[in-house]
């Protein structure tokens, strides 16, 4: 199987050996032998640095032990030592490791620093004694590299060497010890961390050593953790806090929670510990945190509530419900957010119970929580709340019905609307249900209620119909336009001006032709012209509608709307109509624009007509870009 890769190094290989344009007979296989041979030859030659560098890169990906001698010979080369290591570290053969170790005794200066790093990367335990010798040499860079390499090797023997070097510590010794300790069994690591935390080391080293000493000891580290938590050294307290967050000790949560319960910690430390208990997400701490939340106040209480939310113990739900409805402080807000995000359904029954509580605050908060959790199971309780004597509770319940309800809830909302107590809220809820679900059958209960509704209720229902649009809603609106009450008739007509769907075009044109006393001819015309482009009929049918309006238009403002409507009708007749306005100084630019738009749609089928029209446009318009478009359609200057 030949696999093409995107390696540019293949190009380099190709330069070395023209017969190789693709490579690798198998997945992950070494380089073809003759390619490797040529790359090795490049390393041994007086080729340019770049060529040798590229050879090393290619050997890093596909070289074998055969390349090791040539690469090892470059380890002492100031310029190429790095690239030799670049390949040697990647060749998975003991010969590479041997070559790097042997170079420890031969290379000097910066190349030696690099070789030491590679020996560390290879985890070469056979090199520990040699590396130990470098720790006390005169070259600080070499000593630093040896300390880091010993840390990477990570054995007890390496740890012993580094511990001995603590007599004259350096940053690299500290780092090496921290690193080596990670690889040791916990029992062996703890004394290393102890040595570091007790050393006259910089504060960050002592902090992380303390943290690691606590974590390494597991249960036995808890007394050390508590000592630092209670101690006077703020830096070590923060290290203990970090350890408290990270330790996997089985008893840590209980111990920390007990410390909270004791009340012995200073307030600032207590607050940090409460936050830590939240991040541990261990239910063991829930009782102490609940107790603390009840007896504390302010920020500490809010933090305790937040931690309970993070832990997610259902046992805390009653407390969250209680706090959520108790006030509007941070603890209450945190409790509400916790109830909204509480995973699973265990929070839902308590939230529904809030809707039935005796205090209105709980009902209001409950309605909001129902919305945010999208709890359709609470609809029966919301319907009850919607008729509550308290207007705030009723309105909040109705709003919630609008946010999560469906058309099945529309009859109840229509009834609430027509009953007259919460008309505005119910109108909003019906509109919200339609906006979310886009199901026009919501018109049905409205149609049933309209004839017997009071005037204010009728006006409200008509506004809902106007938002819904469509033929059923329009039919009801038409009936209302003949209502015995003037206010209802006038409102029904006004609703048509903003009707969202094109079925209303004939009605609007009819109003424009013979406006009733209260009607506005201009608004009717504008409404019709807005809806004509939305009509689904043939271009000829749309054109007929526009022509009806043209006969009624008296002002340039509406004429411009008509031109816009015509621009969407690609017929020769609409083009001719548009051209009539080229001579009108007030409309010539809009007419030109409409003509070009029509022309672009019509040019393939009626090029001659379009070209002639475009010539008129070119001569009329002052818009250079428009003129160019017209010329592109055959218009002549």
């Amino acid at each position: 199987m030949i696999i093409k890769t995107r390696f540019s190094f293949l190009l380099a290989i190709a330069l070395l050996s023209a017969e190789f344009g693709v490579a690798h007979a198998q997945v992950g296989s070494p380089l073809p032998k003759d390619v490797e041979t040529k790359l090795i030859a490049t390393l041994k030659s007086d080729a340019a640095f770049k060529d040798k560098q590229d050879a090393c890169r290619s050997l890093a990906i596909g070289g074998t032990k055969d390349a090791v001698p040539a690469l090892a010979a470059l380890l002492g080369d100031e310029k190429l030592s790095h690239m030799a290591r670049y390949a040697l570290e990647e060749i998975p053969d003991a010969a590479s490791k041997d070559a790097l170790r042997e170079a420890l005794g031969t290379v000097k200066g910066m190349p030696l620093v690099g070789v030491i790093s590679s020996v560390g990367a290879e985890h070469d335990t056979a090199a520990i004694a040699t590396l130990a010798g470098f720790l006390n040499g005169g070259d600080a860079d070499v000593a630093d590299a040896a300390a880091v390499a010993l840390g990477r090797i990570g054995t007890a023997a390496a740890a012993k060497v580094l511990m001995a070097a603590m007599a004259k510590p350096t940053p690299a010794i500290y780092d090496g010890l921290l690193r080596v300790a990670e690889s040791l069994p916990r029992k062996e690591a703890a004394p290393v961390y102890d040595a570091l935390r007790k050393a006259p080391a910089p504060q960050p080293i002592r902090m992380t050593a303390l943290r690691s000493a606590i974590i390494a000891r597991q249960e036995q580290g808890l007394p050390l953790l508590m000592e630092a938590l209670r101690g006077n050294d703020n830096a070590l307290t923060l290290a203990a806090i970090q350890a408290a967050r990270e330790t996997t000790s089985a008893g840590a949560t209980k111990a920390l929670a007990t410390e909270i319960e004791s009340g012995k910690l200073a307030a600032d430390r207590q607050l940090l510990l409460v936050q830590v208990l939240g991040t541990r997400r261990d239910k063991v701490a829930a009782p102490q945190l609940m107790a603390l939340a009840r007896k504390s106040e302010g920020e500490l209480r809010a933090s305790a509530v937040k931690s309970l939310v993070q832990i997610g113990d259902a046992a805390a739900i009653p407390l969250l419900v209680e706090f959520a409805a108790a006030s509007d402080d941070d603890a209450a807000k945190t409790a509400r957010a916790g109830l909204v995000g509480f995973k699973g359904r265990e929070a839902e029954a308590p939230i529904i119970a809030m809707l039935q509580a005796n205090n209105n605050k709980a009902r209001l908060v409950g309605a909001d929580l129902v919305i945010q959790r999208r709890m359709t199971g609470a609809i029966p309780q919301l319907l009850v709340g919607a008729t509550n004597a308290d207007a705030d509770v009723a309105n909040a319940s109705i709003r919630a019905l609008g946010e999560i309800g469906s058309n099945a809830d529309a009859p109840a909302l229509v009834k609430i609307l027509t009953d007259g107590t919460s008309t505005q809220a119910a109108e909003g809820a019906l509109s919200a249900i339609y906006a979310r679900n886009r199901d026009a059958s919501i018109v049905e209960p409205i149609s049933v209620a309209l004839p017997k509704a009071s005037t204010p209720a009728k006006l409200s229902l008509l506004r809902v119909l106007r938002r819904v649009g469509g033929p059923q809603a329009l039919a009801q609106t038409r009936i209302a336009m003949a209502d015995t009450t003037t206010e209802v008739r006038d409102n029904a007509i006004r609703n048509l001006y903003d009707w969202p769907t094109p079925e209303a075009v004939p009605d609007l044109i009819a109003i424009a032709k013979a406006p009733p006393a209260s009607a506005n001819k201009v608004l009717a015309l504008r409404g019709a012209l807005r809806l004509i482009p939305l009509q689904t009929g043939t271009p000829e049918q749309k054109l007929a509608s526009v022509k009806e309006t043209l006969a009624l238009i008296e002002r340039p403002e509406e004429k411009r709307l008509a031109l816009t409507a015509l621009s969407g009708i690609p017929t020769a007749e609409s083009l001719a109509l548009v051209l009539q306005d080229l001579a009108n100084p007030a409309l010539k630019e809009e007419a030109s624009s409409a003509a070009v738009t029509i022309g672009e749609q019509l040019s393939k089928t009626q090029p001659a007509i379009v070209a002639e029209a475009m010539t008129q446009v070119v001569k009329t318009t002052g818009d250079q870009k428009l003129a160019k478009r017209a010329q592109d359609l055959g218009g002549q200057k």
Partner: protein, 441 residues
């Protein structure tokens, strides 16, 4: 404190570093815990200022440093850059802000890191220094905010996470979208189950590329003006060309990360990892398809890295262009959500739209403000940042693994526990790049 301008010439750098570290003064570490002192309400105790240094600040770095300078309770005291003009430019910004001449300048980051008074550093160099700078800073006991991507290879990513955790440092990678609410909202939707069972995650990325070519050699400038050796850092040596230093280093394998996959992938793949609840793992299979790299998690969820034909312009058809740069899209069997740097979110249906009602208007996805605030809060509480080293490790290695699959142009299987490809020596030999001396991970 010593700066390159006023260093005592008789003490060598090595001696200076060892001396300053060994005698490192015990910092007055304030136990700062209340929200007032944590800076949550803008108030800070008088003695609890975090002392900050910065390394390699240019355009993006200035965005981040600017956000940090707006923080209360922080004092910026030192800039390190291998270019003199940049050192001076950033010093001027700091000195103007504080009305003094106190900002120290350094050419070599090791000297800045040796200052015991500095608590934290911002690293905003090119990619090749993000990992090495973070490692050296963590070893020196500094908390680290570094720009992404971290690590030009998998081994460097691992070393950053290991070192940061070993030294107990607070670490934030500059994948600031983790701290921006439209991205958080989209992740919440994915994790809430409201999209149904998640089956595909889409991450927009810049088309991969790169190579081993060199720019033509130019005369080496004086070290004080541009320290070319330090600019290269741990990368293989090559001759100087001003083009690299002025920002034209992208597209060169030695300096880029994951053949360019990590450039946006460190953001968008990271967000997908988060949405999938996969912060502690990685996909197990990687393969290429036309204009994309596809990955599969052990639970069957697909992660698709889409190559955008015009990342900064038309992002169709894979994404809604209006969502902006760094787009992500999470698809479940009941709906989808898509967002990007514009702050807008689009969802598949009206029911999901209602989930967005509470979403506060998001800022631009490139704004680092909330992310840097999170960093400073965690410095004080020693808490985990939003984009900590562990989550960074998994998302960045995912990008690298995808990039290697693209480079080899074949399907690869990956073991997330061992962080190795399965039965593929060639791919595994691409996971690390030995560092140039004296730099070591």
């Amino acid at each position: 404190m010593t700066s390159e301008e006023n260093a005592t010439p008789k003490i060598s750098r090595r001696k200076f570093l060892h001396k300053s570290f060994a005698t490192g003064s015990a910092l007055a570490f304030p136990l700062v815990v209340s929200s007032r002192v944590l800076g949550l309400d803008g108030a800070v105790a008088p003695n609890s200022k975090i002392i900050l240094g910065a390394i390699g600040i240019q355009h993006r770095g200035m965005d981040v440093l600017g956000a940090m300078l707006r923080e209360t309770g922080m004092q910026f005291v030192a800039i390190c850059d291998i270019q003199r003009k940049q050192r001076e430019a950033i010093k001027a910004v700091a000195d103007q802000k504080y009305g003094n001449n106190d900002c120290s300048t350094y050419r070599d980051l090791r000297e800045l890191l040796a200052r015991p008074d500095i608590d934290a550093v911002l690293i905003a160099t090119g990619d090749r220094w993000h990992s090495m700078g973070s490692i050296y800073a963590a070893r020196a006991g500094k908390d680290v905010y570094t720009e992404k991507p971290v690590g030009t290879c998998v081994a460097e990513v691992q070393a950053v996470d290991d070192t940061v955790r070993r030294h107990g440092r607070v670490f934030q990678v500059g994948t600031q979208r983790r701290s921006i609410n439209n991205f958080q909202t989209a992740v919440n939707l994915a994790q809430s189950g409201k999209l149904g069972k998640i089956h595909t995650l889409h991450a927009g990325i810049v088309r991969p590329g790169g190579g081993r070519q060199w720019l033509p050699e130019q005369p080496l400038p004086p070290k004080e003006e541009v320290d070319w050796d330090l600019w290269l850092g741990a990368a293989p040596w090559r001759p100087y060309n001003a083009g690299y230093v002025s920002g034209g280093w992208r597209g060169f394998d030695d300096f880029d990360s994951g053949f360019g996959v990590n450039e946006w992938g460190s953001h968008t793949v990271d967000l997908c990892q988060w949405a999938n609840g996969a912060d502690d793992t990685m996909p197990v299979e990687y393969w290429t398809e036309p204009e994309k790299i596809v990955c599969r998690y052990a639970n069957g969820v697909k992660l698709v890295l889409d190559f955008l034909k015009d990342p900064f312009g038309d992002r169709s058809p894979q994404y809604i262009t209006a969502m902006g740069t760094c787009p992500v899209r999470y698809e479940g069997d009941e709906g989808w959500v898509e967002t990007g740097d514009s702050g807008n979110i689009e969802v598949s249906n009206a029911a999901l739209k209602s989930e967005l009602l509470a979403l506060k208007r998001a800022g631009a996805g490139t704004d680092p403000g909330t992310h840097t605030s999170n960093f400073f809060q965690c410095i004080r509480s020693r808490g985990l940042t939003n984009a900590n080293s562990k989550t960074m490790r998994h998302s960045h290695i995912t990008c690298h693994a995808a990039a290697i699959a693209w480079k080899l142009n074949r399907k690869l299987t990956f073991d997330p526990a061992k962080e190795l490809f399965v039965n593929d020596d060639e791919a595994n030999r691409m996971l690390s790049r030995p560092t140039r001396e004296p730099w070591k991970i």
